[in-house]
């Protein structure tokens, strides 16, 4: 009995303050990461490097938001890219047509995305597994076709041309490369921090329960449909954020942003980086963009190389890179403790 009590005392004391402590730790890591990224332009004049980080921000937000669905809830969406495209187009169109300040367009885009995601999600999250995957894909193709055929509004297959106006707000001038870079980094870090909070909140654990055993969750009094719809909308918001960063970066929006291949890339990223850790998709993003950039430099058949890499991860490692590292670390710690 005494042993049990001692064990309890050990586990409970750190656990009580633990939740708050973890949050401070995450915020601290985020601040350090932002400081490092934001000071990068002081040390390098390389425009290519800054561009790389901006693209990582756009794709990283997008891929991590997909992981909220795939990794945390077990909802494998094949159409998540529609919200990336929707974010880019809504933001671009609002800026071009209404000429509002950038923060207003940013918020308005999130509102538009939330409404669209709620409607599509209400239909999709009732479905399971492959049915869910394919109906989300169908909605993505619907949005893509709409963009292509509604040329007078969206520019059709030419995309949103003529550039996105970037008026200065709060002293931030997004037509300045460094300003755009720092803003992208800030959005990435804030987005990741928000998604981390979602993953570690009571709601995040509700998602894990649904992933493991949705029927049991409903016998605990959880409204599974509502929880799935909520995470579907939340994930769409962060995907749209990624789309907006992309639209700002290329100063436009193109139909490819809403094409199924963009969803495919996000799934690819998640496979590369791994879905069992929060930062897996971020690692995957860096890997994929690095691969893309180096391989396209050497061969025009980059699809073959990327295909081989994904086969290696899927069949060889059977998990993403960060999953692999996390397991290796856990194993090492276990054997270390055993000694």
């Amino acid at each position: 009995m005494t042993e049990l009590e001692a064990g309890r005392a050990q586990t409970l004391v750190p656990a009580r303050g633990g939740a708050a402590l973890h949050r401070y730790r995450d915020v601290l890591i985020a601040l350090i990461a932002f400081a490092v990224l934001a000071s990068l332009p002081l040390f390098t004049g390389s425009k290519a490097l800054l561009d790389f980080v901006i693209r990582c921000s756009a794709y990283g937000l997008f891929a991590t938001s997909l992981n909220l669905l795939v990794g945390y809830t077990g909802l494998t969406s094949f159409g998540h890219g529609m919200f990336f495209g929707l974010g880019a187009y809504s933001f671009g169109l609002i800026m071009q047509r209404l000429g509002v300040p950038i923060p207003v367009a940013f918020v308005a885009t999130l509102v538009v995305t939330a409404i669209v995601a709620a409607i599509i999600g209400a239909i999709c999250v009732r479905l399971k597994e492959i049915y869910f995957a394919f109906v989300t894909l169908a909605f993505q193709m619907l949005i893509h076709s709409t963009i292509l055929s509604w040329a007078s509004f969206t520019g059709g297959d030419q995309g949103l041309r003529g550039g996105i106006p970037r008026p200065v707000f709060l002293g931030i001038d997004l037509s300045n490369h460094v300003h755009l870079y720092v803003t992208s980094c800030a959005l990435l870090i804030l987005g990741l921090l928000a998604m981390r909070q979602i993953a570690q909140s009571p709601f995040g654990y509700t998602l894990r329960m649904i992933r493991d055993n949705a029927a049991r969750a409903s016998f605990l009094g959880i409204d599974v449909w509502r929880a799935k719809l909520t995470v579907f909308v939340l994930a769409a918001l962060f995907a749209a954020m990624g789309g907006m960063v992309m639209a700002l970066f290329v100063s436009g929006a193109y139909p490819e942003f809403a094409y199924w291949t963009i969803s495919g890339e996000a799934i690819f990223i998640n496979m590369l980086g791994g879905v069992s850790t929060f930062l897996g998709p971020m690692v995957g993003t860096v890997l994929l963009l690095l691969l893309n950039d180096t391989v396209t430099r050497f061969t025009e058949y980059h699809g073959i190389v990327l295909g081989i890499v994904i086969l290696f991860f899927a069949l060889g490692l059977r998990k993403g890179l960060l999953d692999f590292v996390a397991e290796w670390y856990a194993h090492r710690r276990e054997t270390g403790e055993g000694r």
Partner: protein, 251 residues
């Protein structure tokens, strides 16, 4: 407490539950027995909302719950554990308990705080102690032994502090000794928690030993209800159930 009135459910032409009327008084312990296919699990599924009854009432303290969804019924106070342990395989024992309490306190959709919420701790702790799972709190559910998984499943139902606890074969898949330990646990819980417990059980020795009241189902109907002695001496039960099983055992 729990009042079942004229409950009926058919699958095609098969009447899985046929006009069942039963009363489970407050604080009672009842065993439901019957041959395979007697409709025991269907009976539980109808009460807990996993299946919608064709007709009849499920009254809990006078409120009719028939045909409502599982989350609603759980919230009214009917908890259940499953024949095959139904748990969350990637969560640890402690996380499972804390998340279940969160669900019961309606904080499972909270986004702005960190898991676990402080107010969920005491209840989770209490039930882990009660079921002897406290020492395994950091084990992932998938790595637990079969018996511990069944206990975790019961803990999940119990941590919601139900008025009625339905246990679908708590001893399924266990060895003889483990069975007795489990059923002693069930009886101990019933005595200490002062809740209404209904359990399905195949092992006659167990049923006759611990259940003050027994319900015998056969082809969806109630064949008999009564004390162990009454059931043992009931000729219809002997013919329909004990008789066939003994014949099966002899063969």
């Amino acid at each position: 407490m729990l009042d079942i009135r004229n409950l009926a459910k058919s699958f095609g032409g098969v009447k899985a539950t046929n006009d069942v009327t039963l009363d489970f008084p407050d604080g009672s312990l009842t065993a439901v027995i019957g041959p395979n296919g007697a409709g025991k699990s269907t009976f539980f599924n109808l009460i807990t909302g996993a299946l919608k009854p064709d007709s009849g009432q499920v009254l809990l303290d006078g409120v009719d719950l028939a045909g409502r969804s599982p989350p609603e019924i759980v919230r009214h106070g009917i908890g259940r554990a499953f024949q095959v342990a139904s748990i969350f395989k990637s969560l640890t024992v402690q996380e499972t308990m804390l998340a279940a309490v969160s669900a019961d306190q309606r904080t499972s959709a909270v986004l702005h705080k960190r898991f676990p919420l402080p107010e969920t701790r005491d209840r989770a702790e209490h039930v882990m102690e009660l079921l002897g799972l406290a020492g395994k709190r950091h084990r992932t559910a998938a790595t637990l032994s079969h018996g511990d998984q069944k206990l975790l499943d019961i803990a999940l139902a119990l941590v919601l502090e139900p008025k009625v606890l339905l246990l679908d074969e708590p001893t399924a898949g266990m060895g003889p000794e483990e069975r007795w330990r489990m059923i002693d646990k069930v009886r101990e819980l019933w005595e200490s928690q002062k809740i209404t417990v209904v359990f399905i059980e195949h092992d006659m020795d167990i049923v006759f030993k611990i259940a003050p009241k027994i319900v015998v189902l056969c082809y969806g109907r109630i064949l008999a209800t009564g004390t162990p002695d009454e059931i043992r001496n009931n000729s219809a039960v002997i013919d329909a159930y004990l008789g066939t099983e003994h014949a099966g055992a002899a063969a």
